[in-house]
């Protein structure tokens, strides 16, 4: 028995592993068959009846999602019969849909809208009263449900059953009065709820975090990596086209890393990117310092300890890119003549080996693996600061360089611990967030956030993944590499 079968789809030959469904085979070919209920990350439901295709030798049209490819099968996805079936399937979906696109958050990325333009374009024949169903239901911490917009594809129900195994959702009632909803006294309260908004093909589930904030056609998409933990989920980041404002992020398929999903905690990783909370300009002893003068001041501080590398302490956190670590270490080596004493500051409460069984890991740092690899490469011995800062205090360093965490909330004791550095004299602090303590440092330097960097994170599995930079929120800002380049020149 061979392990593959060869079939033709619209005259194009394709060879697929045995057991592949027609819809999966068309994905390989890049032919799109309209679908609502089928999702590559979920089981086959076969209920929307949209993905109809013609198979030669079969009297009736078949659904592509539940038909297994067989040797020599001839599939036709474009014919008058198939087109008519698609048009009617869409019309059935829309007859009781409220068509409230102007006030619906899904507008612009709604599959009903998209398919209407692709395969619909009919004039509605529906003259009857529509079925009215409950709207604006609060179904969880993050979600709002509109059952009138729902097309009952059951993706959300299957997601709850199969991915998170929380089974909070079900379909109630029968016929055209069927509604999706939560079971009595149950809410969707888990760390993966926003995925339901992503897989919902229509505007039935909307995110409390995003609804009514921005029309999706005003958003630019950037493909990058989530910095929330050591899993390194592949994400798409949405930034406003005209304003420097981030609105949300969504997972991007990568079967080796995150599959189709990401956690809700990761979804908040856009909040610290926006200008409101960011450290915008450098400060020297609490006073603003212009970016042009920063290089001079920074150089001065390093010149003072030149040749005394052992009198310099370097505190790193595992949230910078490989390229940045490399730059920091080589630059300091050049300037000081040798590597300074290195400390790695980690959260005192972290449980590195924790795993929630789906995606999120106990190591909430995006690049622990990258940092240890770079340190190893430079044969640097690092002391870990985890709750106990005495090794640093007793080092009697004349100059302390702290590269603080970009995501401060991943350090459970951040507010306390950062004051420990403020107690030391002559501290240069690199960070992203505006907080009262930054003014106490002799020099505080804003750094770029992950969304503004091109660089590499190495995830817990050892897979290096590239970040992609967006335009800077503060256009004058200089990155770590720019600052070191300036003082080395």
């Amino acid at each position: 028995m061979s392990e593959t079968v060869t079939l033709t789809i619209d005259g194009k030959e394709v060879t697929v592993p045995k057991g592949t469904s027609i819809i999966e085979a068309t994905e390989i070919l890049g032919v799109e068959i309209p679908r609502f209920c089928w999702h590559p990350g979920l089981s086959v439901a076969g209920v929307c009846r949209f993905c109809m295709v013609k198979i030669e030798g079969m009297p009736k049209l078949q659904i592509a999602c539940n038909t297994t490819c067989t040797e020599g099968m001839k599939v036709i996805t474009v014919s008058d019969e198939v087109k008519d079936a698609h048009k009617w399937a869409l019309e059935f979906h829309l007859i009781n849909h409220p068509l409230d696109c102007p006030i619906c958050d899904q507008a612009g990325e709604c599959e009903l809208q998209n398919y209407y333009m692709k395969v619909g374009r009919y004039s509605s024949q529906m003259d009857e009263d529509k079925v009215l169903k409950p709207k604006a239901l609060d179904v969880g911490d993050n979600l709002v449900l509109d059952t009138e917009r729902c097309i009952l594809c059951s993706r959300c129900v299957r997601f709850e059953d199969e991915v998170t195994k929380t089974s909070s959702l079900g379909i109630f009632n029968r016929g055209d009065h069927s509604i999706v909803g939560t079971f009595p006294n149950r809410k969707i309260q888990h760390n993966y709820s926003y995925n339901i908004v992503d897989i919902c093909p229509v505007g039935a589930f909307t995110a409390k975090d995003f609804r009514f904030k921005c029309r999706v056609w005003f958003l630019n998409e950037t493909k990058t990596i989530c910095p929330g933990c050591s899993t390194g989920c592949n994400i798409t980041l949405y930034e406003h086209k005209n304003q420097r404002q981030y609105y949300r992020l969504k997972p991007r398929k990568n079967m080796e890393v995150n599959g189709h999903w990401m956690c809700d905690e990761g979804r908040t990783m856009y909040e610290h990117l926006n200008a409101t909370n960011r450290l915008a300009v450098p400060t020297i002893a609490g006073k603003h310092l212009s970016w042009n003068l920063l290089g001079k001041e920074f150089k001065q501080k390093l010149e003072n300890v030149k040749g005394n590398a052992d009198k310099v302490a370097l505190v790193l956190t595992p949230q910078y890119t490989n390229e940045e670590y490399e730059n920091i270490l080589t630059s300091l080596k050049t300037i000081l003549g040798n590597l300074p004493k290195i400390y790695v500051w980690r959260d005192s409460a972290e449980k590195i080996d924790d795993f929630d069984g789906i995606l999120m890991r106990g190591d909430r740092n995006s690049n622990s693996k990258g940092l240890s690899q770079i340190l190893e490469k430079h044969a640097a011995q690092a002391v870990t600061l985890s709750g106990d800062f005495s090794p640093l205090a007793s080092s009697s360093a004349n100059l302390v360089l702290v590269f603080g965490p970009e995501i401060e909330k991943s350090y459970s004791q951040f507010a306390n611990e950062v004051t420990r550095f403020a107690e030391l004299s002559n501290v240069i602090y690199f960070g992203t967030t505006l907080n009262p303590i930054t003014k106490k440092f002799s020099l505080a330097i804003p750094t770029k956030v992950f969304a503004e960097k091109n660089g590499t994170f190495i995830n817990f599995k050892g897979i290096p993944q590239k970040l992609k930079a967006n335009p800077l929120v503060f256009p004058a800002m200089k990155g770590i590499e720019d600052i070191f380049a300036e003082i080395k020149a």
Partner: protein, 430 residues
């Protein structure tokens, strides 16, 4: 050619009685009556003690040409043969949901001869190797649930159920499971979902229940009537069974007649019996000398036939399929001249819109849409376009869904809209 005895008049037990032999007996449901008067449990004895192998049983039923009595008419023996051979958990489920409007034959079987069903189930379970079987019964059938449960209890007490039946080494257990009363649970995979404790919704096929059914194990779902007739076939042999009925539709079948006729009720007839003779002679014709307008020959899902189309029909699968309808469950609904087909349509569409499980879009939305339009027309607010629209909606609902409920709603709608179009005209605005 069909064997039709001219003297057959339907209601009195006579030689054509296969299933309803005990009809009219004062204590018909009792196991003693069944054993003494109805050759009860002789077939089971023949199977278990007479050295019949499961294959022999399947082959006997195949040879009898018995076709499933639930509606689709699928050969029963063939259905059994799809179950994988060898050891392992398997289930036999009796479909006693009897939801098709107009049908009450299964209830009648449980009222007259529940032990035929129990015995048939034990034999069928032996044939497919099922250790456990269920009677899935509609929740509203209070009496029938009791009768079935009593029959099972009696069979246990008599040693026909339980461990090592009659010393044959075959062990079988049986239970009654009452559903909540949904039309869709009469669809075999919907029934399995319901029996599993889930919402009664049909499952995607493939995999078919014979391979992956109840709790993921091979399962056969048979109608009450198909199973109840099995003991007779085993006891008398397939040839005796084939003496009744036609070549392609052998045996007898229970027919339920409803509507304004003199003697409505449940009749056992050999297949191939002339329809009009049955209505006019055996059932005494329409009351008050009314004229016949239409007949729905096989439960509400069967497209209606006009009086003219019924003239030369015989009651068997082929003849009625040839006329563009179906024998279905054998529920004959008689519609007289003074009933408007528009209200018939509205009534039927109301039923299907209410009973669609809501899983597949064309059925969920289509049944509701058809109902709304038909209601609209009945209120005198429809137009000619509504008729065309109903026809195209029905056309596009057919064959597009997981189960055939969609077709069951679409076919009668298409038939009424086309065959009785003239009746709609007074209702239309223009």
């Amino acid at each position: 050619m069909p064997v039709i005895k001219n003297e057959y008049q339907g209601r009195k037990p006579d030689e054509f009685r296969i299933l309803l032999g005990l009809e009219g007996h004062s204590n018909a449901r009792n196991i003693q009556t069944y054993i003494e008067k109805g050759n009860g449990y002789k077939a089971l004895e023949k199977v278990l003690k007479g050295g019949m192998s499961p294959e022999d049983v399947i082959n006997t039923v195949k040879a009898s040409g018995l076709r499933g009595r639930g509606g689709a008419g699928f050969p029963t023996g063939l259905k059994w043969s799809f179950v994988p051979k060898g050891p392992g958990e398997k289930y036999l489920i009796t479909n006693f949901d009897e939801g098709e409007p107009g049908t009450y034959k299964d209830c009648y079987i449980s009222e007259v001869t529940p032990h035929s069903l129990v015995e048939g189930k034990i034999i069928a379970s032996y044939a497919i190797g099922a250790q456990k079987s269920y009677i899935y019964i509609r929740g509203e059938f209070h009496n029938e649930i009791r009768w079935c449960a009593e029959a099972i209890k009696e069979a246990y007490a008599a040693g026909y159920l339980g461990e090592n039946i009659m010393g044959s080494g075959f062990t079988h257990h049986m239970d009654v499971y009452s559903g909540a009363g949904a039309y869709i649970c009469g669809e075999e995979t919907g029934l399995i979902s319901s029996l599993e404790g889930k919402k009664g919704q049909p499952k995607l096929k493939p995999p078919f229940p014979a391979v992956k059914g109840y709790l993921g194990k091979p399962t056969v779902v048979n109608n009450v009537e198909s199973l109840a007739v099995v003991p007779w076939i085993i006891h008398n042999g397939p040839e005796a069974y084939k003496k009744f009925g036609t070549e392609k539709s052998p045996g007898t079948k229970l027919f339920n007649v409803s509507g304004p006729i003199a003697r409505p009720g449940c009749y056992e007839l050999p297949l191939g019996y002339p329809l009009m003779r049955f209505i006019n002679e055996d059932c005494g014709g329409l009351i008050g000398g009314k004229k016949l307008k239409a007949i729905i020959p096989g439960g509400s899902s069967a497209p209606a036939l006009t009086a003219k189309e019924c003239e030369n029909l015989t009651l068997d699968y082929e003849s009625i399929a040839g006329a563009g309808s179906m024998l279905g469950s054998g529920a004959i609904i008689v519609i007289p001249e003074d009933v408007s087909m528009v209200s018939v349509l509205e009534n039927l569409m109301d039923f299907y819109a209410h009973e669609s499980c809501g899983q597949c879009t064309p059925c969920r939305e289509g049944t509701g849409w058809l109902y709304k339009i038909s209601k609209h027309i009945l209120k005198g607010k429809g137009t000619k376009t509504d008729m065309d629209r109903m026809y195209s909606i029905a056309n596009n609902m057919r064959g597009k869904t997981i189960c055939v409920l969609s077709d069951a709603a679409a076919d009668p709608a298409r038939a009424i809209v086309t065959k009785f179009a003239h009746e709609f005209e007074p209702y239309l605005k223009g």
